[in-house]
């Protein structure tokens, strides 16, 4: 009798923890919205916020109808096939199904919304709605099944604790495919090949967004334990998450300071986000010093990534690809370098004498996921382009998508330059 009461209250505490984390991850949606809104021009803010808002709505329904069944339902090594509309679905941990679902749905929404930033200021709203349903109902859940739903990568002991690959590489590389297919914004690159800066309209909004994301990440990573246990794991994950973000911010700031002469705030903030993305896969399995090393590297990766994208003429207005895509890969590989068997990883990482075993699996996993996402998103965007078109007209782009797509302004009563 007493045992069952203890068990019930342990499950209750875990449920409380998972729900709290789900609410925090949901709040990250606001963070993404503010970062993206701040980094683009005032004439497109209403458009990006509508996308950001609706993709969470789409992700919630898509993940309810199809996504959960594909991700966590019984099936084969590639996808699950049981639990459509959550009918007959089972929870993936000991917390109740509905708590588990809400937590996972919030993750799914985060993955979908990453793309909005990459294709900002030029993608048609209707095309974006279609994309956001498809990624959250089908593409993201397939990858999720591989890694977290008992699919082939999890059978190989591929480890991605909270989603550097599953959430961020999926979102980041979808954004890469989208932004490459949709072409740069008008006026971003000169005929001689040089790039123009198209400055974001509100650094305060972007900063608020970064802090909200950082805050939400304390649900994203520590919540992925799905249980409180004796508290040791969630405490370790929380400190690692914080240290990686901090060191990512510092290293990106230093890199950009050295390279361009000024400590650019927008790049430092991208660095903190990069650190958060990078620690996501390994946060449970590394020491705090390793979290700092992972974060510092992430900061450099993001700065070089942004510069590289401009060189290649891939226009990513908010840095979604370097932050989520490139650092999603780095974070996944970092598990195989800094991870420890003593902390629950299946093999020791490279630095703990585990050799190349874990890092090899990590490489295989992240490459497979990136390939799958790139190919499938290429098909999705091609089809959408064929049927409704991906990009607004040049005239609408120059006037701003707020008026063109929604017929309303973000800052009514303000004088805003739409002449760029």
């Amino acid at each position: 009798m007493e045992k069952s009461i203890i068990y019930a209250s342990a499950v209750g505490v875990d449920t409380l923890w998972v729900l709290l984390a789900a609410f925090l991850v949901f709040f990250m949606q606001a963070g993404f919205g503010m970062v993206e809104a701040g980094f683009i021009r005032a004439k497109n803010v209403c458009n990006i916020l509508t996308k950001n808002f609706l993709d969470f709505c789409m992700a919630s329904l898509g993940f309810f109808i199809f996504g959960y069944a594909i991700m966590f339902g019984a099936g084969n090594a590639i996808f699950g096939l049981k639990g459509w509309f959550l009918i007959g679905a089972e929870s993936g941990s000991r917390v109740p199904l509905y708590a588990f679902w809400l937590f996972q749905a919030a993750f799914c929404g985060a993955s979908a919304t990453i793309v909005a930033g990459g294709v900002a200021e030029r993608m048609k709203f209707i095309a974006y709605l279609m994309y956001s349903f498809i990624i959250s109902a089908f593409i993201y859940p397939v990858v999720g099944h591989w890694v977290w739903g008992g699919g082939w990568l999890s059978q190989l002991n591929f480890t991605d604790f909270a989603g550097s690959t599953v959430v961020h590489a999926v979102g980041g590389f979808s954004a890469l495919v989208g932004t490459m297919m949709i072409k740069p914004r008008s006026g971003k690159y000169n005929p001689d090949g040089s790039a123009n800066a198209i400055a974001g309209h509100s650094i305060p909004l972007a900063s608020l967004g970064v802090f909200i994301l950082w805050f939400g990440w304390f649900g994203f990573n520590p919540g992925s334990t799905l249980s409180v246990g004796n508290g040791e794991a969630i405490a370790r994950i929380a400190i690692n998450t914080n240290l990686a973000a901090a060191s990512g911010g510092i290293s990106a700031m230093s890199a950009v300071w050295r390279r361009f002469g000024k400590p650019d705030l927008s790049m430092s903030m991208n660095g903190a986000l990069a650190g958060l993305v990078a620690i996501t896969a390994s946060c449970a399995f590394v020491e705090p010093w390793a979290a700092i090393a992972i974060g510092i590297t992430a900061g450099f990766v993001v700065v070089s990534g942004v510069v590289l994208m401009d060189k290649l003429h891939i226009d990513d207005p908010v840095g979604a690809v370097p932050v989520h895509g490139f650092n999603g890969i780095w974070g996944t590989l970092a598990v195989g370098i800094f991870g420890q068997k003593a902390l629950g990883l299946s093999h020791n990482g490279l630095l703990y004498g585990g050799g190349l075993r874990q890092v090899g699996v990590q490489t295989l996993g992240v490459i497979s996921v990136v390939l799958f996402v790139t190919v499938s998103m290429w098909v999705v965007f091609t089809l959408i382009n064929r049927f409704v078109g991906l990009r607004v007209s040049r005239e609408e782009e120059l006037k701003g998508l707020d008026i063109g797509e929604h017929g309303m302004e973000s800052y009514s009563g303000f004088q805003i330059f739409t002449a760029q």
């Binding site: 309303m408 739409t418 002449a419």
Partner: protein, 113 residues
């Protein structure tokens, strides 16, 4: 010396700038402006309510030129701003009695060029 003032559609500014550069006109002043001509206005919707916006966003372009640059400048503005639709804008051509460059004290054509 002439002062050319043009009212154009804001979203045509990049094209006008490009045409001006092609005709070797590099100096200009650009201001945000509100106004209406034949185009009257457009409608916005806010929470289901449709309302007419009467004054439209325009860009006001001011360029001071010497006589030999009058035609290339006007041609460039027309080339860049013209779509054939109502609302393309207008160009005003004014005589300019004097021009002084503050830094050097130069006056007349030299100060413009």
């Amino acid at each position: 010396m002439k002062l050319i003032i043009a009212m154009i559609q804001p979203h045509k500014l990049p094209d006008v700038k490009k045409a001006l550069y092609d005709n070797e006109v590099y100096k200009m002043t650009v201001t945000n402006a509100l106004g209406c001509g034949q185009q009257k206005g457009y409608t916005e919707t806010y929470r289901g309510v449709i309302h007419e916006i009467n004054l439209l966003k325009k860009v006001r372009l001011e360029i001071a030129v010497n006589e030999d640059f009058v035609k290339p400048t006007i041609d460039a503005i027309i080339k860049g701003a013209r779509t054939g639709n109502i609302g393309d804008g207008k160009i005003f051509l004014l005589d300019l009695p004097e021009c002084i460059r503050i830094r050097t004290g130069e006056t007349g054509g030299g100060a413009i060029g």
